[in-house]
């Protein structure tokens, strides 16, 4: 079973990678395949950051149109395609937040409307388990206060100022917590990379 799953995962990732390359070569038809394989995951990310369905759909549309226009930015030799796309979607969503149009984040879990059981399997197949374990392990080495704030920045798109306000600590304190946390995180990630 496990082998079958990992085979399927490898195939799904490689198909996505191949479609990204085809898109970069100007094959617009590849966009629909990429969309079908990744829309659920990327929409989840946009919604989590923006906290508004309409905004998240606008962001998602923006993500794929941008991808189509500039697919050549993806380097298939350097990044896992789903990791790259997730980053791309998250960055677009955070950019929207920072332009001040919406204040999302902190979506209550029940509003987040997770998919029922028929959720496309494609998502979980695309995940790179090893890379995923790395960041979780390293976050686990931080004190919980620090890792909670770093995770909140990642998932909810909070700025330093917003995190400080929520934690009811001075801005400088929050910056200090997070910067020290990021330094430790980097050391840990680099160490696990070297092995």
């Amino acid at each position: 079973m496990a082998d079958t799953n990992s085979d399927q995962a490898t195939i799904a990732r490689e198909q996505l990678r191949a479609n990204m390359v085809r898109l970069a070569d100007g094959d617009s038809a590849a966009l629909e395949k990429i969309y079908n394989a990744t829309r659920v995951k990327l929409f989840g990310i946009c919604f989590r950051i923006l906290g508004d369905r309409k905004e998240a759909e606008d962001a998602l549309q923006d993500v794929y149109i941008n991808l189509w226009q500039r697919a050549d930015r993806y380097d298939p030799t350097r990044a896992s395609p789903i990791s790259w796309l997730s980053t791309f979607a998250r960055n677009r969503a955070v950019d929207r937040l920072r332009t001040g149009k919406v204040r999302g984040g902190a979506v209550p879990v029940e509003e987040a409307n997770p998919l029922p059981d028929e959720a496309p399997l494609a998502d979980s197949l695309l995940v790179d388990a090893e890379q995923s374990a790395q960041v979780h392990t390293c976050l686990g080495t931080l004190d919980s206060k620090t890792s909670d704030n770093i995770r909140s920045a990642f998932f909810d798109g909070y700025t330093y100022a917003e995190l400080a306000e929520r934690a009811e600590v001075p801005l400088g304190t929050m910056k200090s917590w997070i910067r020290r946390g990021l330094q430790k995180l980097r050391t840990c990630l680099e160490a696990s990379e070297a092995t």
């Binding site: 829309r39 990310i45 549309q61 998250r90 998919l115 890379q131 920045a153 330093y160």
Partner: protein, 256 residues
Amino acid sequence: MSGEETMPERDMPERDDAMMAAEHALGLLEGEELLAARGKEASDPAYAARKAWWEAHISPLSDEVAGMEPSPEVWAAINAHVNSRADSQGGEVVDLQSRLRRWQWTAAATSAAAAVLLAVMVFAPGTGPTVSPTPDETPMLAAADPLVAQVPIGDTGLRLDLTYMPESEKLLVGAIGLTADGVHDHELWLVPEDGGELQSLGVVTPGEVRAHSLDEDVIRNMGDGVQILLSREPLGGKPDGVDAGPVVAEGAFTQV
């Protein structure tokens, strides 16, 4: 450091570029700091690489985010955008509106009679009309002025645009915006002023601008004020030996 940090912690780590890249990747920055960071990302490859390193490493966290199904309109909008661009790049999807504008532009240019050349109009999506004089018909000034006619189609706001170039023996028939119903064609007829039988000017191609070649005995009857009829026919036009179908529109040529 900015003045807002009134309570720096004793062991605040130094905020070098590497740290800024981490903060940037995580999305902590805003305002001027964010602008500065974006500027650095665009201009400093080492900084951009460091930010990308962070992004690649924290990206797996998003696996924890529950997936959600976007509404079908999202793909429809993406697809429409991609197709409209593909069209302007020579794709097969025809944007009738832009073709209509091009045709109107062409018609305006055509009306400048003295400048009109013998021409084959090639309508390629996205490239605009290409006027390419055929080699054996050297461009020359019009010896006679073109005839034009508009045939409004009911109250649809649509119309046929006809342009006849005396030297070319061709009639340009623009039927932009019209769509085929799949069971009928429409045929254009010239009504000779001498009271003779109707003469066919050809079957209209919906949505297209087509050059129809005219026979000599038809050309003889072309002239200012000559009436044109449009009849509804079976597919392919009026069959031989059968009366023409009902007249659905009419117009008349005017000399420009």
